[in-house]
């Protein structure tokens, strides 16, 4: 009780010290007077009385000090004092302060921003309650794309019923593309993107609607009234954040669809499951309607019961998998999923691939911070040299060494705190900008924000960096010999030599760090260039695609031939019309574009041979005549034609890799798949009419897999993307293409006319993002290193003014002086570069996995980066060297 009372009073005393100090002064004065009075009464002279009184008090200052110590918080008082003093000195040296704070703000800001990214993608749990229970259930990676990573509705049911480890299992329809929803509000239909999820999706993830409700089992029944959940962003953008939206119905894809809820802003389907895309609406997937026969369409996500380990879940999935059937009506399809049901933590699925990149990025900003600290150390040392007399004086007046170090550390702390404040603001801008880069295909990016952890990180790194850059100059200053410093009248004294050695070590380490950053950035940059030069199998420039809506429904069409015929007519009309537009060179349809979604339909095999088990089938694309030309993919053989009719001979085109595989099976004497029939698991034979180049279907930096193309008149497409090739800028065609489509079909929504180049950009955006970040950090590191070199050389020139003057007076030429200084600069830089290259060679393994077509020990990169550093070092040394060569000997010799 009494102690807490005291604490409160101490805090109060700390804040309001002036009146208490006045009080104490009065009290001490009274004390002294009493004592003097007593002493005089004893018969002393007034002078003697006063002297004795002071002795028995034991020193007025000590009394004050002890009183204050007991009364308030002495440590804080000292800190306050140091703090005020620091502010004053920094204020008096604005150029130093601005440079120091700027350097720190850049380094700390970059660190906070990268930390936020790392935190969001790697450290923080996913934005769902008990996110550690969530698992992604899929087979190990295969080359048949999403079809092999998904499950049929029957398989889903079987898995859900037979698994005991899960609270529940859910999933979503994996094959819906962008702009698949057309919202009709009266005017032209508006394009949007929706995704079908199993009705328990939100319960499993633990996401509540912000308004209204999420789906129930009722919503996914056969014949249920159509309902939709809106994403927060779409609700705000399209519906002006209408607070009464729940219950309203809109025409979506021609059906009156009721809005049952709005999702919270913290849930972004695209950010979690489909990086780089935006999902506007979510609709319930009717598992027991038509999807029953669509094959592998569902991705699985499970929530394990509390206490179930991943190992238990994996074991159980391995036991359940053989019981799962592709379709319960075909018993031979049971067991297809053996070995293909493997739960992994959802977080690993989403962010796991980025772990290495993020670690590299984190190391890069760490290096930046180190370079900044070294720079600051250097600046403080230079400043400290100028202030050494001040410290020596304070030491002589009784300041302890610890007290001076404390003063200097306070300065560092104030500087780093200021840097941290500006850095935090900088990071806020960066993070805000990053969160709105929807085109970057990185997961969770839109959920990026500065949080408490980022703030904590800021505090931590600013303390750590203050200690790092403050301790060396602090110890240097405080350790100085008082006598030497006071006597040291000017430049050229021996104390400064030691000083310079420390600074040289600092510069060398700075150059070494910058060198490592540059080499890393160079390797990533070169990899990125290689990625851009990959032969994609199509020409991404001068072409664009737009999603076209069409209606090929024919009532009572048993085998689909009637609807295929109708579709053929529609597409042929559209292509004729579009092809006649000025500027259009070629046009064609596909259902999936490359570098996007994909699926497979089994393994067509040379007729007469039995297809092997366990070989993944080629990816399937359903296209029209003209598509290959529109994409710029060369064909050997012939393109499809409109006379490849539904009932005619079934034709396909295959890619080179697949053709190669089939040819090597020795079914054909000429080892050429062209014009050969392929058996198709019970269906009609497929005749290979063309062989096309390998197209990168999933990513730019991987190998192309097998592909097979069916004509839209013989197979059912999942959608229709119209690809138009032009000699002009593709966007100049957007208006006329859309207008033509509208004329033919008023229901055509104003879908985006996307340049094909964008698909490629999107596919490489993750790599580009990391590359750009590392390159800009390397640039920053280079700048800081240049600054450091400049600072040291320029300081040493100033220090040697007199010496240079003497040399010049004795006949040294300006060129000679410049040469000497440049040599010493380059010597420092070279040592740094050698160390940096050595460290890079050792550390290159870390980055190897991120490279493409580039060796981690690429000589060109190492050489050019070393050269670049040398040039920069020479430039930063040249300015002070030039200044030195202009020294006027008479002036230089007079200044001292």
């Amino acid at each position: 009780m009494s102690e807490s009372l005291r604490l409160v009073k101490r805090i109060w005393a700390f804040i309001r010290r002036e009146p208490l100090d006045d009080d104490l002064e009065d009290e001490l004065a009274a004390h002294l007077q009493f004592a003097i009075d007593d002493n005089i009464a004893k018969g002393m002279t007034p002078t003697e009385a006063r002297r004795i009184a002071l002795i028995s008090i034991g020193g007025m200052d000590q009394a004050r000090y002890k009183h204050r110590e007991a009364r308030g918080f002495m440590t804080l008082d000292i800190f306050k004092q140091d703090f005020k003093y620091t502010l004053r000195t920094l204020w008096n040296d604005p150029s130093f302060t601005v440079v120091a704070v700027l350097i720190l703000a850049l380094a700390i800001g970059a660190n906070i921003a990268v930390f936020s990214v790392v935190n969001t993608l790697l450290l923080r749990p996913l934005p769902f309650p008990n996110a550690h229970e969530l698992v992604w259930i899929a087979p190990p990676p295969t080359k048949c794309g999403m079809s092999c990573a998904t499950y049929s509705t029957d398989a889903y049911d079987e898995f859900r019923i037979n698994s005991r480890s899960y609270q529940d299992v859910t999933g979503y329809f994996a094959f819906s593309g962008a702009d698949n929803l057309s919202l009709n509000l009266g005017g032209a239909p508006l394009p949007a993107t929706s995704i079908d999820v199993i009705q328990n999706f939100f319960q499993v993830l633990g996401v509540q609607a912000q308004m209204g409700r999420v789906f129930t089992a009722e919503d996914a029944r056969n014949g249920a009234a159509p309902v939709v959940l809106l994403s927060n962003a779409w609700w705000k953008r399209q519906f002006n954040a209408d607070p009464n939206i729940v219950g309203k119905a809109f025409d979506m894809n021609g059906k009156q669809t009721t809005v049952i809820g709005v999702l919270p802003a913290s849930f972004d389907f695209g950010a979690v499951f489909a990086p780089g895309t935006k999902v506007d609406a979510i609709t319930p997937l009717n598992l027991y309607g038509p999807p029953r026969n669509w094959g592998n369409i569902i991705t699985l996500i499970g929530r394990t019961k509390p206490g179930i380990t991943l190992g238990q879940a994996v074991d159980e999935a391995a036991r359940v998998a053989p019981k799962m059937c592709w379709n319960n009506r075909y018993p031979e399809s049971c067991g297809n999923y053996k070995g293909a049901v493997v739960p992994v933590p959802l977080k690993d699925y989403i962010g796991g691939k980025l772990r290495r990149s993020l670690i590299v990025l984190w190391s890069a900003v760490g290096a930046i911070l180190l370079i900044a600290c070294v720079n600051l150390s250097n600046l403080l040392l230079a400043r400290g040299a100028a202030r050494s007399k001040e410290f020596a004086m304070r030491g002589a007046l009784g300041a302890s060494r610890g007290r001076i170090v404390r003063q200097l550390l306070t300065e560092s702390l104030v500087l780093s705190s200021m840097g941290a404040i500006f850095g935090f603001m900088l990071a806020a801008v960066l993070v805000e900008w990053l969160a709105h880069q929807g085109a970057i295909a990185l997961p969770l990016l839109s959920l990026l924000h500065l949080d408490g952890a980022a703030l904590g990180w800021t505090v931590l790194i600013s303390f750590v960096s203050a200690t790092i850059f403050g301790i060396v100059p602090g110890l240097r200053m405080a350790g100085g010999n008082v006598y030497e410093s006071l006597k040291d009248a000017g430049p050229g004294a021996s104390a400064s030599r030691k000083h310079e050695r420390i600074r040289s070590v600092l510069v060398v380490s700075e150059v070494a760090l910058a060198c490592m950053l540059l080499v890393g950035a160079g390797l990533l940059l070169r990899s990125f260039m290689n990625v851009l030069n990959v032969d994609l199998g199509f020409e991404p420039d001068h072409a664009a695609a737009i999603k076209v809506s069409y209606d090929d429904n024919v009532p009572n069409d048993k085998d689909g031939n009637l609807s295929a015929e109708k579709r053929g007519v529609i597409f042929q009309q559209i292509l004729t019309r579009i092809g006649s537009l000025p500027g259009v060179e070629a046009a064609g349809f596909t259902d999936y574009l490359p570098l996007g979604q994909n699926r497979s339909w089994g393994l067509p095999y040379p007729k007469g041979l039995k297809p092997p088990q366990g070989v993944d089938g080629p990816l399937v694309y359903v296209i029209t005549p003209g598509y290959m030309r529109a994409m710029g993919t060369p064909i050997r053989g012939r393109d499809f034609s409109w006379s490849d009719a539904p009932k005619g001979e079934q034709v396909v085109m295959i890619n080179k890799s697949y053709a190669q595989y089939l040819s090597n099976l020795n079914a054909w004497s000429d080892k050429d798949a062209l014009n050969k029939p392929l058996g198709n698991g019970g269906g009609s034979d497929l005749h290979v009419v063309g062989i096309v180049d390998d197209v990168h279907e999933e990513n730019v930096d991987g190998d192309a897999g097998w592909q097979i193309y069916y004509p839209m008149t013989q197979a059912g497409p999942n959608a229709a993307e119209l690809v138009v090739r032009t000699r002009m800028n593709p966007s100049s065609l957007a208006a006329s293409v859309l207008a033509s489509l509208r004329e033919m079909n008023p229901k055509q929504p104003a879908n985006e006319f996307k340049p094909i180049r964008l698909l490629v950009n999107h596919a490489v955006s993750g790599r580009q993002f990391f590359m750009l970040l590392v390159v800009s950090f390397a640039g920053l590191g280079l700048l800081l290193a240049a600054l450091g070199i400049y600072g040291v050389i320029s300081y040493s020139v100033t220090r040697q003014t007199q010496e240079i003057g003497i040399r010049m007076a004795l006949g040294a030429t300006a060129g000679h002086v410049r040469g000497r200084i440049l040599t010493s600069t380059l010597r420092l830089a070279l040592v740094g570069i050698v160390i940096g290259i050595g460290a890079s060679l050792g550390g290159a393994k870390l980055i190897a996995a991120l490279l493409f077509g580039t060796s981690p020990w690429d000589i060109v990169t190492y050489g050019s980066m070393a050269l670049l550093l040398l040039i920069i070092a020479a430039l930063s040394g040249y300015i002070p060297a030039f200044r030195a060569s202009r020294i006027n000997p008479t002036v230089a010799l007079r200044t001292n």
Binding site: R10, E27, G59, Q62, A63, K66, H67
Partner: protein, 119 residues
Amino acid sequence: MSPEKLDLLQGTLDLMVLQTLTVMGSMHGYGIARRIEQVSADEVLLNQGTIYASLVRLEQRGWISSHWGTSDNNRKAKFYAITAAGKRQLAADARYWERLKDVMERVLTMDKSAEGADA
């Protein structure tokens, strides 16, 4: 008087101040310091200045109170008086010191016979 004065143990000064105020009533800092010096017959090493650290500690704990007043010889001075809480604290502290003194006395006066009797 021994050649070296006694160093005050931690907390003893506070106890002396409380006791002095209990016996003498309201007093100013100088008076308290002089009184302690007189009672201890100049045996303790007391820098009079340190009394003010003790006074502020005691006051912050609520054991003494202070007010500005006028001394006998008409000087302005800050007077301290013990509070009820201070009296309780003094009683507790005094008991503690009594016990400690007894223990120290027994320890310092022990002899072999006591050890043998125990064994």
